[in-house]
């Protein structure tokens, strides 16, 4: 056997287990739920479940609501995390140390507990409202509203995203930044021409994570979201186990998979382009 053949067999053998897991855990269930979502309940197969998704008033507003919350969260998380990461990368001192030591704490608090904590903090008679009452400010409604869901999502996503971006930023050699500064490059140019392009890949990874995490989130939207419109995850649970319409739930599941795969495809394409550029 030639060396190349042996190498490619080894390569294939190493890829196979992970591919098998991917097949069993991801691909087959997606295909199954797609087939399930096509059945119309009376033996035939058609697109009626999907028609319902876009024609039912409640369901349509759920989709719009989910996309809106996801978009707002993504933008806010990226903004806050990038700022934090850059601040920690290029500054020193006690404040930076404090942030560095504490910013990951939310990652260690279970979702349900964090959500109940937020209810106690932000509820109409919560701590914040009581503290503000002393100074004569009435807290607007935050819980049972999209604001509550977005705040909870920020709490869950900022630490991880900041962690990802920090590690990308720490990979940028200080020499590049310093030499750019030496020739008189302004802060904005420094960011747009050097820092952002050098951390772009991680930025995309972070964005993908936040997007997928938020679009499929359940605990916080279930406990502090409104009854209508709902996030897709909550709606899926309701359709599946309360209304017991499995096919309809499968259609929602497949639809949210499609939404995620749009971003996934975008991500994979840019990765592939980069690989090609390297060759």
């Amino acid at each position: 056997m030639s060396k190349e053949a042996r190498q490619s067999i080894t390569g294939l053998a190493m890829v196979l287990p992970s591919f098998a897991i991917l097949l069993i855990v991801v691909i087959i269930p997606i295909v199954q739920s797609f087939i399930m979502s096509l059945s119309n309940g009376s033996g035939g197969y058609d697109l009626s479940r999907y028609t319902y998704l876009f024609t039912d008033k409640g369901m349509r507003s759920n989709i719009v609501f989910t996309l809106k919350v996801t978009a707002i969260t993504c933008v806010a998380v990226i903004l806050v995390s990038y700022t934090l990461a850059i601040y920690m990368r290029f500054n020193q001192g006690p404040i930076v140390n404090l942030i560095r030591k504490t910013y990951m704490i939310p990652l260690f608090i279970p979702g349900v507990i964090a959500t109940y904590g937020l209810i106690n903090l932000l509820g109409n008679h919560g701590w914040l409202a009581r503290m503000l009452e002393v100074v004569g400010i009435t807290l607007p409604r935050i819980i049972f509203d999209e604001k509550g869901i977005i705040i909870a999502n920020l709490w869950f996503n900022i630490p991880f995203t900041t962690m990802l971006l920090s590690s990308a930023l720490s990979g940028i050699p200080s020499s590049i930044i310093e030499s750019a500064k030496d020739v008189g490059v302004g802060r904005l140019t420094l960011f747009t021409r050097f820092i952002f392009p050098l951390s772009y890949k991680t930025f995309l990874v972070a964005l993908t994570f936040v997007f997928m995490g938020v679009i499929g989130s359940f605990t916080a939207p279930y406990l502090i979201g409104a009854n209508s419109p709902q996030m897709l995850g909550v709606s899926m649970q309701q359709v599946f186990s309360v209304f017991q319409e499995r096919e309809q739930a499968a259609a929602i599941a497949f639809f949210s998979f499609l939404l995620c795969s749009v971003l996934g495809a975008f991500y994979i394409r840019s990765m592939a382009e980069e690989e090609k550029a390297k060759i």
Partner: protein, 387 residues
Amino acid sequence: MRMKKPFLSLLTVVGLSVSLLAGCGNGSEVKSTTTGGNAAASSDPVKFNFYFTGSQNVKDLWDSLEPMFEKQHPDIDVNLVYIPSGTGAEPTYDRIVAAKKAGKGSGDIDLYEDGITSVAQGTKDGVWEQLNAKDIPNLSKVNTDTMKDVDNFAVPYRSSAVVLAYDSSKISNPPTTLDELLQWIKANPEQFAYNDPSTGGSGSSFVQTIVYKDLPEEDIHNSDPAIMEKWDGGFDTLKEIGPYVYGQGIYPKKNQGTLDLLMNGEVSLIPAWSDMVLQQLNEGLLPDTIKMQQITPGFNGGPTYLMVNQESDKKEAINEFLNFVLSPEAQEVIVDKMNGFPGIELSNMSQEMQNKFDGVAEGFRTFNIGDLGTEINKRWQSDVAAK
């Protein structure tokens, strides 16, 4: 610096073993229950699996009833499998149906506890065993009408009532009829809350009671889909009070959701399960000013049922257990632990117990509308929640 490495490797070991254990969890559980089944063939005690779901109080109840029973019957071993409310009741039922369809017998679930929806569903799917007083003598102590509602496919072993819970420091004379309640809601905007009916029984009871408010009494024992046409009036009422409830249309999740609002004073009147209110008053979670009021006609409340899997091969032992659960001594524990109503008729209980329930025993009506309960929730979601 030297400390770092051992700590890291310890962390890795712990992490690995946790993930391994998590992976094995399901498999080992199934295995252990099968070996239990095989052991039954020899002279060891007959072991059957009892799956039940609910809040912590339900678990506490069975944890105290099981040793009582096993002391009396050393030849029977009841294996309690507790599924916390909201996480796995549905999959448990699915497992029973799946095992039956696959010809795999009982699927290791011999006895199952749940509400009327599961009884109706299982009767339709043909998975429950029909019970009779010959095998379970104490069944004769249960109200015959209640048994007729479920065609003897389930044992109503305890009951709960939905009542109005109110803050007596804000309300001196709470509403006593449904019409008064509706007037009160409109007169006191944002002071009333009921929970999303698909997430908890007290909200569901409120919705069903309103929907069937002006319908004839026999309709609440009818699961004919034709009745759905008569719901319009009820749903109009629900839509009408929408702007007057908490947050002008906020319906918290789960029974506890509204109790939390009552607890921190955001609302002053809610429908709630009497046993939950009593228990939380006892534990000091609710302030002492919280009182309860039943309205007439009562809210839809009702029994919780035990169902025997038709495919189970340990029916004798199960019947023995059910007979015990319906005995006055076990029922007394249920009343004490759960603050609920007994499943058997009061006349079979001690005089002391009878006095305790003087005048409130008729505090609820049992609805048996089968699958229509799901239809109500669906329509509530699109008509009331989505406005």
